[in-house]
């Protein structure tokens, strides 16, 4: 049984973080340089953590599998970043952002963590502006805002449709500065392939040099994983092709608990699937829902018609109809399921019938084409490149797609996992979004964790570690971990089967989308667990991975990642199966209200499920961390 002490500080919610910072142990400046911290991943969370810790005086090693830290997938976030600045004078506050996030997460996130996130959100904007992030501005030179799903205030800061890019380049610039100053050792094109645990503490990692194939041992006083989400378990998603679960999965197999793996976010506004060769789905920013109106034809027989010929009275603006107070800005999980219901009724549009319209004709009448172009021009361009259609003339077609994973490694209030010395930041942890994440909150969490949380909380652990006590890389745990990796690589290369890695990734993705996607059932999940088990067996027997271990071998990289996705997929299904309720992105058909909305079971499931590895082929252990709500009252989430 894992020790799941959340270490939430005592006292009133609004004072917890301030008090915790005052109570936390400090490391004296002369000792900081004696500690080495490994940061794996260099997206928003990883880059900001690495540069902040280096500025404080710690020795930092930043390890990324990309050829440059600037490639991390944070770069693709489009819409914006939330902060409780209340620059619009529309009544926003830390409490409102906290409340919206808790409610948006369907009362399955930890109050104390979310309140801290809302508190530091204001510092993030200050920090980014100081770094030169070119946020959108008004003519007076002050910062502009827009509204986003799940909120009734305008608190989202943005840089055209490339907010993630600009925030990541800001964090990358800080990381580059510290690398240039010799404070951070940057190691690119290295993939973390195992966590090294010595006497119960995380004390290093094994990496594979993706260019030479060599395995390397790295020792440290603490390890930070900021390696992103695992949505590519579905094969088709809005993630980058390289995004993977390997770092956190291998940490899980070394004892770190995996929190709420079944909580996945299906984003409502993505370009629909067009063919079975497809490698990824492209998101159309949720910000489009500010000015675009979502509809399907009222009558099935109109679905094949040119949308411009269907008059307004024959269109069903279903989000505005079902959720009048939030309309097109209903949260992502709610909007996605509504779109699915319309398509299930046979009123979907496009060649596959799996699509709904996102229509800008009203916005163009109101703002002019130039006005719409200024706000969303690059998104319309992306849409045109992919579909060859002009969305200024004819409505976009969109459909939900996998976009984010709220689940991740379990962490306490200090962002430390149940393995001491192992910290997990950003999307890789489970902590802040509950069962559903609101738009523009992922960027906020990544930077909050890296700039404003870990710099304080890591000291609480390191102060208890003797300076200079980190183990040598000759220690048996390092040798054993390296041998473990080498033998897995040899097995993959030795299978010499008949099917390429992608074949298994596609089949896994189809299984997951069918049974563990937008709607889940007991029978479907049980079937999926069986089928994934069979798929796993077949994969190891019949996968074809050409080439050698000692070279740049992309097939081998993919094989290792897909092997981990297969195991993770099974765990996700187990988690979804045991969570006998619907909440946020987790929708069990057995648990719904007559109108198709989520039916939570707060009596039995107001908790985090933290899964603990029990050994190969054994059923993992489901630990529970109860969630207590003091500041907010748990209620049925309504956006009507």
């Amino acid at each position: 049984m894992a020790n799941l002490d959340s270490r939430i500080p005592p006292g009133p919610l609004a004072d917890k973080w301030r008090k915790h910072k005052a109570d936390i142990k400090l490391v004296n400046p002369a000792n900081k340089r004696k500690y080495e911290v490994i940061v794996v991943g260099a997206g928003l969370a990883g880059s900001s953590a690495a540069s902040s810790l280096a500025d404080m005086g710690y020795r930092v090693k930043s390890i990324v599998f990309h050829d440059s830290p600037r490639r991390a997938h944070s770069i693709a976030a489009q819409g914006g970043i939330n902060a409780a600045k209340n620059y619009q004078n529309d009544g926003d506050s830390v409490h409102r952002l906290f409340y919206d996030t808790i409610k948006g997460g369907d009362y399955r996130a930890r109050e104390a963590n979310v309140h801290r996130l809302a508190e530091v959100s204001v510092n993030i904007i200050d920090q980014c502006v100081a770094q030169g992030v070119p946020f959108a501005r008004e003519y007076g030179g002050l910062l502009a805002n827009r509204s986003f799903g799940g909120a009734q205030v305008s608190r989202t800061f943005y840089a055209r449709g490339q907010t993630g890019q600009q925030l990541l380049l800001g964090a990358y610039s800080a990381l580059s500065r510290t690398v240039g100053q010799g404070l951070v050792e940057l190691i690119t094109q290295h993939e973390m392939v195992d966590l090294v645990v010595v006497d119960g503490h995380a004390k290093g990692v094994i990496t594979r040099d993706l260019v030479t194939g060599q395995l390397h041992r790295h020792a440290a006083d603490a390890v930070i994983l900021a390696t992103g989400g695992y949505g590519n378990v579905f094969n088709l998603s809005t993630y980058a092709r390289g995004s993977n679960t390997t770092a956190i999965w291998r940490a899980y197999k070394r004892g770190a608990c995996f929190g709420n793996p079944c909580y996945t976010q299906i984003h409502p506004t993505c370009i629909p699937v067009s063919g079975d060769y497809q490698s990824k789905l492209t998101l159309m920013s949720e910000s489009l829902r500010n000015d675009g109106r979502i509809w399907v034809p009222k009558r099935k027989e109109d679905c094949g018609k040119d949308p411009n010929t269907i008059p307004d009275e024959d269109r069903d603006y279903f989000l505005e109809r079902i959720y009048p107070s939030f309309g097109n800005l209903a949260p992502r999980d709610v909007s996605s399921r509504a779109a699915k219901r319309m398509c299930d009724e046979g009123r979907g549009v496009g060649e596959t019938g799996l699509g709904v319209y996102l229509d800008f004709s009203h916005a163009i009448k109101r703002l002019g084409e130039a006005g719409v172009r200024e706000r969303y021009g690059n998104l319309f361009d992306i849409y045109h490149e992919i579909t060859n259609e002009n969305a200024y003339r004819t409505p976009m077609r969109i459909y939900p797609a996998v976009h984010y994973t709220m689940g991740g490694l379990w962490v306490d209030y200090n962002l430390m996992s149940n393995v001491p010395g192992l910290f997990v930041l950003g999307e890789a942890n489970f902590s802040d979004h509950g069962a559903n994440r609101l738009g523009a909150s992922a960027l906020m969490q990544g930077l909050a964790d890296g700039y404003f949380v870990i710099p304080y909380t890591i000291g609480d652990y390191l102060a208890g570690q003797k300076p200079g006590s980190r183990p040598s890389t000759d220690a048996p745990a390092f040798r054993q971990a390296e041998e473990n990796v080498a033998s897995q690589v040899a097995r993959l290369l030795g299978a010499k089967g008949r099917e390429p890695v992608n074949h298994y990734h596609r089949r896994l993705g189809q299984l997951m989308w069918t049974h563990c996607g937008m709607a889940r059932t007991r029978a479907g999940l049980e079937q999926a667990i069986q089928e994934i088990g069979a798929l796993r067996e077949e994969f190891w027997r019949n996968v074809s991975v050409p080439g050698s271990a000692g070279s740049l071998n992309q097939a081998l990289e993919r094989a290792g990642r897909v092997a981990d996705f297969i195991e993770l997929g099974e765990l996700m299904c187990r988690d979804a199966l045991t969570r006998e309720e619907s909440c946020g992105g987790h929708f069990r058909e057995e648990h719904q209200y007559p109108d198709g909305e989520c039916k939570r079971d707060d009596t039995n499931f107001a908790h985090v499920a933290a899964w603990e590895f029990q050994g190969e082929g054994k059923v993992p252990l489901r630990n529970v961390e109860p969630l207590h709500y003091e500041a907010v009252k748990m209620s049925v989430r309504s956006y009507k």
Binding site: S51, S52, D67, S68, R70, R71, H73, I75, Y87, I125, D126, Q127, C128, V129, A130, Q131, G132, P134, A136, R137, G140, G141, L142, L143, A159, Q165, Y172, S173, A174, S176, R177, V179, G180, L186, V211, A240, R241, G242, V273, G275, Y277, Q278, S279, K280, T282, E351, T352, D381, E385, I386, N388, F452, P455, P500, N502, S544, P546, S551, L552, A555
Partner: protein, 269 residues
Amino acid sequence: MVASTSSKLISVTLRVWRQEGPAAEGRFVEYKAANLNPNMSLLEMLDVVNDDLERRGEDPIAFAHDCREGICGTCSLMIDGKPHGPHRGVASCQTYMRSFEDGAVITLEPFRARPFPVQKDLICDRSAFDRIQQAGGFITARAGSACDANAIPVPKGAADLAMDAAQCIGCGACVAACKNSSAMLFVAAKVSHLGLLPQGQAERDRRVLGMVSTMDEAGFGNCSNQYECSAACPKLISHDFIARMNRDYLAASVRSVFQAESQAAGGGA
């Protein structure tokens, strides 16, 4: 999933640069790719070709890619001699098979420049770009030290222009397009982005001097004003920024000669 049925399938022949490693000799190898949906992306076509190679136990074509939506800057193909292919303002991953005729022969090579050595097949090493950023592509602002974000108003025009420059995805197409392998568009974009903002003024001179000298050390050539870089840039970043950087560089060079420097040592109580 339903395959698209409305479009006529096409077939193409690929001439692909294969090179086992940095020191190995490279060569073109031909592959046939048949029955392709024209709505498939070029990289998805390579996935299909690679799946076939892997099925036969042959080494797949190594190519750099990640986000597949034109923002991460990882993909880096010379497609029929053009960085990122036939279309303006897109990356390799945003090139679709409908851009090619049925029966076309498509030549795929890595970006070619001395500072971008080939690692394998179509993948080259662009770490020189990171080194240039490390030499000055930042505004020093430690976490925790910032003032309120609205304390410094930035005129909308300056912010918009800075954003135009900041859009650079660091792919290196500008270098690949240039006969001199110049990286000036890349460097100018970062110098201009930060130099246009009030926050960027304190380090403006150090930045441009540091980045340009690192660029030169890495072996990138000079600009001879033909602007192939802008034409090939997937974000269509304007070559006007190069002129801006040159002005900054000149001013900084002059100032660095004449500016008085404090002689005081550090320390104190």
